[in-house]
């Protein structure tokens, strides 16, 4: 392994530390490396002596963690939890990882290549705030109560949330790619200012999905209420099934292949929406308000069980039916 590779990986594992401390550690290792080379070791030998990046980082982080826990006997457990981002044998009540710059590299794995090792357990609050660099999080066999993910400046963020119960999920994405596994959620509140959010088939109570730019791709969703707002960018959805779906396109584009709701409200201020509703046209009461844009639907009221409300100011709305 080249020193620069070793260093990069080593730095990833120091993500939990303050930037200043991280730089100090890297300077220390840089000096060690230079001294090893000056003493006649090859790059390979010098790097080999450092040991695996994870092991080297863990020693330093364990020391940090021990210090936190050691400050007050009463908070020993909390101290352990604080560094549980690296190893933990118990349940974790709250895990918050904050990174200013640099990288947070967290993997929850039950397989090989363990850098964060969680047993099957519950995490009640989970929050990752990252301003730059890379975030890679993998979860296996972990249940969440709250997931709060936020990234800053165009990091590459890959998050797999398992198909376990995750009551509330808040996502704020400004860049990169966020992949949300399908599964059960309480409420989902996702705001995509950039980058792309992809989800599997999600089950939830309320879903609020906003994209100011960037792309949202929903494989499928079953919900009580859904509010999707496309201010720019694009949303594509497979099947949307629930009580109420409220899709608002201010600019950009929305496409939903199969909307199966009692009440669908679609508002196009500009941009374009292409929505396919389940059932036949006759199954729906339709309320249509059109200003300058185009809409292929006419209003009708026959006291149907289902209703669709369409408002088009500019842009175009195209509503199709599966039957």
């Amino acid at each position: 392994m080249k020193y620069i590779e070793w260093r990069d990986e080593f730095e990833l594992f120091l993500g939990a530390l303050e930037r200043e401390e991280r730089e100090r550690i890297l300077a220390y290792y840089g000096e060690m490396y230079a001294d090893k080379r000056d003493s006649g070791l090859t790059e390979e030998q010098a790097v080999a002596e450092f040991g695996a990046p994870y092991d080297a980082a863990k020693k330093i982080l364990d020391e940090e963690g021990a210090k936190k826990g050691g400050a007050d006997e009463g908070t020993q457990a909390a101290g352990d939890d604080e560094r549980a981002q690296f190893t933990s044998s118990g349940a974790v009540d709250a895990l918050e990882i904050n990174g200013a710059l640099g990288n947070i590299y967290v993997r929850f794995y039950d397989g090989k290549d363990v850098c964060v090792d969680y047993p099957t357990t519950a995490i009640l609050d989970y929050k990752v705030t990252q301003q730059g660099g890379k975030v890679a999080i993998r979860h296996r066999d972990v249940k969440f109560k709250n997931v709060n993910l936020k990234n800053g400046i165009i990091p590459d963020m890959t998050i797999d949330v398992p198909k376990d119960l995750t009551p509330d999920c808040t996502i704020s994405l400004t860049g990169g790619t966020l992949k949300l596994d399908g599964g059960d959620y309480g409420n989902i509140d996702a705001c995509v200012e950039g980058g792309s959010l992809k989800t599997g088939r999600i089950y939830c109570s309320d879903a609020k999905i906003v994209t100011d730019a960037g792309a949202i791709d929903i494989d499928g969703a079953v919900f009580h209420r859904m509010h999707a707002e496309i201010n720019a960018g694009k949303m594509t959805a497979g099947s949307l099934c629930g009580s109420t779906a409220d899709i608002k396109v201010n600019a950009g584009a929305a496409q939903a292949d199969s909307v199966d709701c009692r009440r669908a409200e679609i508002c196009v201020s500009a941009g374009k929406a292409d929505i396919t509703l389940c059932g036949a046209k006759e199954d729906y009461d339709a309320q249509v308000k059109r200003t300058l844009g185009s809409c292929n639907l006419d209003g009708r009221s026959l006291n149907c069980e289902r209703s669709v409300k369409a408002e088009v100011y500019f842009g175009s709305l195209n509503i199709n039916f599966t039957k």
């Binding site: 550690i25 300077a27 220390y28 290792y29 000096e31 060690m32 230079a34 001294d35 090893k36 000056d38 003493s39 002596e49 450092f50 040991g51 092991d55 080297a56 980082a57 020693k59 330093i60 020391e63 940090e64």
Partner: protein
């Protein structure tokens, strides 16, 4: 080794390595070879801990076109080393009375 005992031993070793004058990371590790094997990752927290405790001070100096951090003992560090010496003598006494005969 018990973590607390180990910490004390390691601290004492590093203080000892600096007793002869200022030194730097790589040299400290090499000087201690033969007494105790410590890795870079072990040494870093010790140096940080000793510095925070006021036992040593550091400064950076150019060497071979790069910066190298040097460590030197403070009077408090020297006193700490003496303290360890007394502590260890006591430990040796206890050791002898517990294990002495069978050894």
């Amino acid at each position: 080794m018990d973590i607390q005992i180990k910490k004390g031993v390691l601290d004492a070793c590093v203080l000892h390595a600096l007793k002869g004058g200022e030194s730097y990371g790589y040299k400290i590790i090499n000087d201690l070879r033969g007494i105790i094997d410590i890795s870079e990752s072990t040494l870093y927290p010790i140096l940080k801990r000793l510095e925070a405790a006021g036992a040593l001070k550091t400064y950076s100096r150019e060497f071979n076109g790069r910066l190298r951090r040097y460590y030197y003992l403070t009077p408090a560090g020297e006193a700490k080393l003496e303290e360890y010496k007394d502590d260890f003598e006591e430990v040796i006494k206890i050791y002898k009375s517990i294990f002495g005969e069978s050894k």
